[in-house]
Subunit: 652 residues, 2 copies
């Protein structure tokens, strides 16, 4: 291994190495190998290229930095400390990975200033960065270079590039030609199990080139070579991959270059040896003033750029920060009034498209899309224009058959700010993008998922396409609002909630089959926001029927059957379990009543204990679906008004 | 478009086209475009290369055919009918997509003979085929060419190649050099939204070449060109991609080549025009005898090959079909007896590795692996040898950082027969492979998933790595057994259940942190097979505490606290909800008792209504975790013996 030339930039990098190995050692937990290996690359990137202002972490036109290899979180924390982020003092580094500190094991969006995205689940960072770079292109097309003109830089590891989501991400980025996206691959030939040649032989540069990327390689420990590679990447009109040849744990003389250094503290002896190797004469968590000065110059340069930007900022752009949704409630209420007169009998996926005509006409910053199911998800409203590699002024994305890449890209678009993304696929394929949905919820990013074909009601495509457990599995994700509207009015209300949401992702679950309007009486209030409400409320109820989405129609029919036998049934529509759970006890008790209950949903019962006791009834699915026309399936699986009525009678 | 030369092989292909368009029309649902576009390629493959025997659909050494583009299911059904599969008479085709027919909307494993794998969720087929081709290599290395020597052929569409899982699959196949895997890509440049150039610009041949594949292209409507390409693919030592340039809906003169023909019936007029175009003079569902004769010759050739194979079949190989697990229960019982003496205090992930020493020593056909977390999942037992591109005689797979590809490959290995695969990753990343886990359950394929680091108990890595909703979301999948053992004995019992399972996948969920032995009294019976059982059973109980995995220790401590206050608490260990639900009511009532209950699991409550009524207590998680040492987190989230005891007291 070549000797390090001792110069100021290398010293800046060694400060990262020292803080990383010392913090991991103190926590007795963490990953020193990656920060030490990529310290030179990261230092050159920040020292010579990055435009950020620690005093204004949310400056909209800042360069974005995404650490896709999130386990190397100490790289970011060390850099933020050295740059002078106010919330990243040395005590935060001393408390790395401790309860309540900002220095979580993996970078957590919202925990510390300047963390652009939560990473750790591999591949998510690079795929989210594609959304950020896409948002930059779209906003640049709308507002011009004066307002939006920045780069998105990613540090990715071998794991990020092995994960399937990376294929979806680079394919989409290459197709759209996101030239201001620069991925620096930590090409250290090491994974947790050992050498990368245990499990991969892919020529990554050839792979990225096949996807339309500009590719290059450099010695990740040669400052000028790194700078030349980044400069070339910035100039090329294609997205760029730089294979940075690095030694994992660089500077730890006895452990570097091996997987032993990946995910465990180095130990006091090796840390002492590394200090010697790096000529680093300072105590743990001690940084000399001259090093701070060098890093602070980066911050000063960024502050100057931000001041210039504020001078020339376009009026149009100012108006987009933040997204103003104040006009929506009025528009939705007017639309609901019209619905109560028109009484459309449409699938809720169609009702979703109808609502989108109102939403997209009212909110100029929505960005629609679908994973190649535009005509099935009905996510494109009449005036939407597709974004193309030649023209980014549109507002609809053809994400391709890439559910996972779509979800991560939507996270990136939402995190970038000023645009409100939504995207669709078949609900069964929510499984394909679940890791990115989870990150939406964990970060509290208000993206909207449109999941159509939401039950056996989709019919002939059969069990691979029929959600059965998906409502339960998605309701299980904390901080995600799962909405299953029963008709066009609830669908409009769900869209209002989704667009007004500031800190929660929302999933709108829609039927393939037509559903009659249930909310024939206009109500100004957004009843869906209550989570569940009484659709039919007899004076004194003998039984309470609770249903969601396409099964509300069946519960109403069951109530009619029971009425014919002189049994009074209340009918509750429950479009959103999470919002009902958030209501006060008095409201919940009023809705649930004290009579026996029967729940109905063309899905498994799991999760229904919010409404039902174990002795209550439930009409739904007990296993996978089947391939047949929808009416035949509802009969076959006995999800019928008759089944609800007979369970109700047994309970009374 | 070039005229079709009318010869017998083209007629054989036109028979597929006619059956596909007629069956879709009669069902008024389905996808005619792909079967009509790929009819020539499929006909050449079967007519000139495939070795299968419809009279012996499970012949172990048959060539495997995987229709990854599962929506084109009529291609398979038509071929199986023409070949003379006994269970695929013309009535099955007339009842395409109807309730109870074998001709489901997408090919369903187990519904009809010769369906090698359930497909439809895009990319799953090609990734499962990688597992089949890997199994072929492994068994060939063990038993020789006389016993195992066949090809695995895949037809994949643009969607399959856009999905992220395809990257994981081709990367793994290229690395291992699975030369007898041949993927025929239906390169028709059409997706549902329109032309592929709406969403992708990837050079697929260059992409596959970068992953170490042999690549070629051919006119997918030129019989001899197709044959030459397949022959070259068979000869090349690398896995092969053949880009088959086809016209979607080939033969439908007014609709072919457009996405209109992808997923909707052609309509009577266009079908009539297609009959004219193809010179197909026969009625719907009418096939002339000469065409049947040609297809039956393929079956006859396969029957002959099978007879030859049975002649030369090695004794060793005969012994492997089916996997004989009869020796395992005795070995596990002896091991449990030893545990009750040794009383190990180990993490259940370590206990899993200890159990694997017994399992792998007893069952020579297990195949272990991990998604690059071997040292964390502890999935490799002491005598296991890694499979390498040079040597397939080993029994451990380094799947790489490819959870999704691993799960699909395990499905393929299990479907191939004679090997029993298991593989590990962190439980939080079960989300990454969920679509393949769902297919394991839907197909009833007995693969074993080892999911370690199963709660906030993993500590510092934080919320991205801490499962909170995963137990609920995985228990929601029908036909999947989720096991969360509390100690080394339950872990051994879980492994016994997993290895004995014939029709269900099993997931073994394991802790990172150490857990004391709870089952200190040896019991011959596999109590874990009961799903839940009484670990502590006082004469007359005041309260019942129910816990799983690492929280059983906490429930026991709570029972001790309560005992100090003179409160008698029964403690139930509930390692498998699905198996408890399957017990008879009498048993369940005995376990649950009539006293108030408190459940405890370091996860959300969803799914616990199997044990708890709404008024019962629950100690667990209400949202995402955090980054800190495990003990700090258990205190922070109040998952403690004190919390359980106080809830118990409030209920009594």
């Amino acid at each position: 291994m070549k000797d390090i030339q001792i110069n100021q930039e290398t010293e800046m990098a060694n400060a990262i190495r020292a803080l990383a190995m010392d913090a991991v050692q103190k926590a007795n937990s963490g990953h020193p190998g990656m920060p030490m290996g990529m310290a030179d690359v990261a230092t050159v990137l920040f020292n010579r290229f990055m435009s950020i202002d620690p005093a204004a972490p949310k400056w909209p036109d800042r360069d974005r930095f995404v650490l896709s290899a999130g386990h190397g979180s100490m790289l970011v924390y060390a850099i933020h400390h050295l740059l002078g982020y106010a919330d990243m003092d040395m005590d935060q580094l001393r408390n790395f990975r401790q309860l309540g500190s900002r220095t979580a094991g993996h970078p957590e969006y919202g925990h510390a200033d300047g963390i652009e995205v939560t990473t750790g689940p591999l591949g998510q960072g690079i795929a989210t960065a594609v959304g950020m770079a896409l948002a930059e292109k779209m906003k640049n097309a709308r507002y011009g270079d004066d307002s939006v003109d920045h780069f998105t830089y990613v540090i990715a590891g071998d794991g990020c590039l092995m994960e399937g989501i990376s294929h979806e991400a680079i394919d989409l980025a290459g197709h759209l030609g996101l030239g201001k996206l620069v991925v620096m691959w930590d090409d250290n030939a090491i994974t947790i199990d050992g050498d990368t040649n245990l499990s991969t032989s892919t020529d990554q540069q050839a792979r990225f080139a096949a996807a339309g990327w500009h590719v290059s390689a450099c010695d990740g420990h040669d400052m000028n070579a790194i700078a030349e590679a980044i400069e070339a990447a910035r100039l090329d009109p294609r997205p760029s991959l730089i294979a940075c040849r690095t030694i994992i744990g660089f500077g730890a003389p006895n452990k570097q270059g091996s997987h032993d250094v990946h995910g465990a503290p180095l130990g006091d002896a090796e840390i002492a040896a590394a200090r010697k190797q790096l000529n680093w004469a300072y105590e743990p968590f001690e940084i000399p003033a001259s090093i701070y000065d060098s890093w602070h110059q980066i911050a000063a340069r960024g502050a100057h750029k931000r001041a210039e930007w504020e001078q020339r900022l376009s009026v149009e752009f100012r108006a987009t920060e933040p997204c103003d949704t104040s006009a929506l409630p009025g528009a939705i209420e007017a639309y609901k009034r019209k619905l109560s007169q028109d009484k459309p009998n449409v699938a809720t996926r169609k009702a979703s498209q109808m609502a989108l005509e109102v939403v997209n006409a009212t909110l100029p910053f929505t960005v629609g899309g679908s994973a190649d199911l535009t005509g099935s998800n009905l996510t494109k409203s009449s005036k939407m224009q597709s974004v193309t590699p030649q023209d980014f002024s549109g507002d609809y994305i053809h994400y391709g058959i890439r559910e996972h890449g779509m979800a991560a890209a939507m996270n990136g678009i939402a995190l970038h700010g000023g645009l409100k993304p939504y995207g669709g696929t078949f609900m069964a394929f929510a499984d394909y993008c679940r890791p990115a949905i989870r990150l939406s919820a964990l970060m509290g990013v208000p993206v909207t998922y449109v999941m159509t074909h939401d039950s056996i009601g989709l019919g002939e495509d059969g069990p691979t396409h029929q959600p059965v457990e998906h409502l339960a599995s998605l309701r299980a994700i904390p901080n995600l609002l799962v909405m299953r509207p029963a008709d066009a009015v609830e669908t409009a209300e769900a869209w209002e909630i989704a667009m007004m949401s500031k800190d929660k992702p929302v999933m709108i679950v829609a039927s393939r089959q037509n559903l009659p309007l249930q909310r024939t009486q206009h109500e100004a209030e957004n009843l869906t926001a209550r989570g569940a409400y009484l659709l039919r409320d007899p004076a004194k109820r003998d039984v309470t029927l609770i249903a969601t989405g396409s099964e509300v129609e069946i519960a109403i029919a069951a109530a009619d059957l029971l009425a014919a036998d002189g049994i009074k049934a209340a009918v509750v529509s429950a479009p959103c379990f999470e919002l009902f759970e958030a209501q006060d006890k008095a409201y919940r008790d009023t809705i649930l009543g004290t009579a026996p209950r029967v729940g109905c949903e063309a899905a498994i019962r799991q999760g229904w204990d919010l409404f039902l006791d174990r002795e209550d009834g439930f009409v739904g699915m007990r296993g996978f679906g089947a391939s047949a026309p929808a009416p035949a399936l509802y009969n076959h699986f006995n999800i019928t008004a008759e089944a609800i009525a007979s369970q109700a009678k047994n309970l009374i």
